[in-house]
């Protein structure tokens, strides 16, 4: 280690920034070099003198007061709070627009499927009602007369403004409207147990 490097090491050691290995090397150099020892000694002296030599002081109370009086304006950071609120608001608005837009696009499709499902629902209800009526009324069509039930169901649906289909013999219509005797019994509001025949 030469003296130039040693003096840098002395400065680093004084600042607590020298690792153990280099500290050991430095100690070896200082033991052999009186000039570097003088440098080290002078640095220690200068440190103590510098504390006295350097002008120290503190800012006037007026300046500190001025700093602190400025702070409340900044500390609330209305701009930042507004920015955050605006971002949240924008995100919510975008979400709302997407939701409404999506609903408007999907609505016609839903309307079609609703119509068919409501027809099916209505038919099921009508058929169930008819079966109950049949159980309670002597004027009702005879059990197991699907043609009469179909006719009644169609009339009722037409009264409700639902087109049950001109072709009442179509497979779908039969599937939906054909009142199977067991089905009628199971759907009966009277609550008869399945399998029990009247």
């Amino acid at each position: 280690m030469n003296c130039a490097k040693s003096r840098k090491m002395i400065l680093l050691k004084d600042a607590g920034e020298l690792d153990a290995k280099r500290c050991h090397e430095l100690d070896g150099h200082l033991a052999a070099c009186s000039e570097c020892r003088d440098f080290f000694r002078d640095m220690v002296s200068l440190r103590s003198i510098a504390h006295s030599a350097v002008r120290s002081g503190e800012p006037s109370a007026r300046v500190v007061e001025a700093v602190l009086s400025t702070a409340p304006i900044v500390k609330n950071r209305p701009g930042k709070i507004f920015a955050l609120s605006f971002t949240r608001f924008a995100a919510l608005a975008a979400g709302f627009v997407l939701l409404v837009g999506g609903a408007l696009i999907i609505a016609p499709w839903n309307r079609n499927s609703d119509a068919s499902s409501s027809s099916a629902g209505d038919v099921s209800t009508i058929v169930a009602m008819l079966s109950v009526e049949h159980e309670n009324s002597s004027t009702a069509p005879e059990n197991g007369n699907p043609a009469q039930l179909r006719q009644l169901a169609r009339q009722l649906l037409e009264m409700e403004g639902i087109n049950a289909g001109a072709d009442d013999e179509s497979p779908e219509f039969i599937l939906l409207f054909e009142p199977q005797p067991t089905d009628l019994q199971s759907r009966s509001i009277s609550g008869s147990l399945p399998g029990e025949c009247v």
Binding site: D42, I49, A50, A53, V54, R55, V67, L68, P72, K75
Partner: protein
């Protein structure tokens, strides 16, 4: 300053301030004001200018405190102060003569050595005054390193970061500065020996 203020870290105070507690900023200002002001005063060598810079540093801190991510607030403050002082030097060529006001330093020396004899006091005052003058005569970048290291006890890593130079450059500046101060010191010691 009470015990709680000492225990509370700068980072915690910054967080409290950001949550709207104004007293946290007051604690921060009071905690750092002497070191920061001493540094600025010795760089600007003018009380009036030092107060302006001090205020400006804190205004910048308040403005940018939301983005504060550093671990060392003191280093951040010194870096801002350094930048403001440099900006001032750039806009106005440094024409300030060496400030001969040594009153505070001499007063503190007297307080620090109350048991010295009048002759010793006079000699120490002389040495201190010469060293103070020598520090003032150093080029700004060397003076800054000497101040940050000897007076504010900052590590070279932070000094290098403040000056935006390598640690090697900061060490070299310190060495140059110390060499000049040592010359003054040795001259004074030699003169003392001759007088004795």
């Amino acid at each position: 300053m009470n015990l709680n203020e000492v225990e509370e870290s700068d980072g915690a105070l910054v967080t409290r301030y950001l949550n709207g507690e104004a007293d946290a900023l007051e604690t921060l200002v009071n905690r750092h004001k002497i070191r920061m002001y001493t540094f600025i005063l010795n760089m600007t060598r003018s009380r009036e200018e030092a107060e302006d810079v001090f205020q400006e540093v804190w205004l910048r801190v308040i403005k940018n405190i939301g983005g504060y991510r550093e671990k060392n607030l003191a280093a951040w403050l010194m870096r801002i102060a350094h930048n403001l002082v440099i900006d001032r030097w750039r806009t106005r060529k440094e024409t300030v003569s060496i400030d001969a006001e040594g009153g505070e330093s001499i007063a503190s020396l007297e307080r620090s050595a109350p048991e010295s004899s009048p002759a010793e006091n006079a000699a120490e005052r002389e040495i201190t005054a010469r060293v103070a003058a020598a520090i003032n005569e150093l080029p700004a970048e060397q003076r800054e390193v000497v101040l940050l290291r000897l007076e504010l006890d900052m590590p070279f890593k932070e000094i290098a970061a403040i000056q935006r130079v390598s640690i090697g450059t900061a060490l070299a500046r310190m060495q140059y500065g110390l060499s000049k101060l040592r010359r003054v010191l040795r001259q004074e010691y030699s003169a003392l020996k001759e007088d004795a």
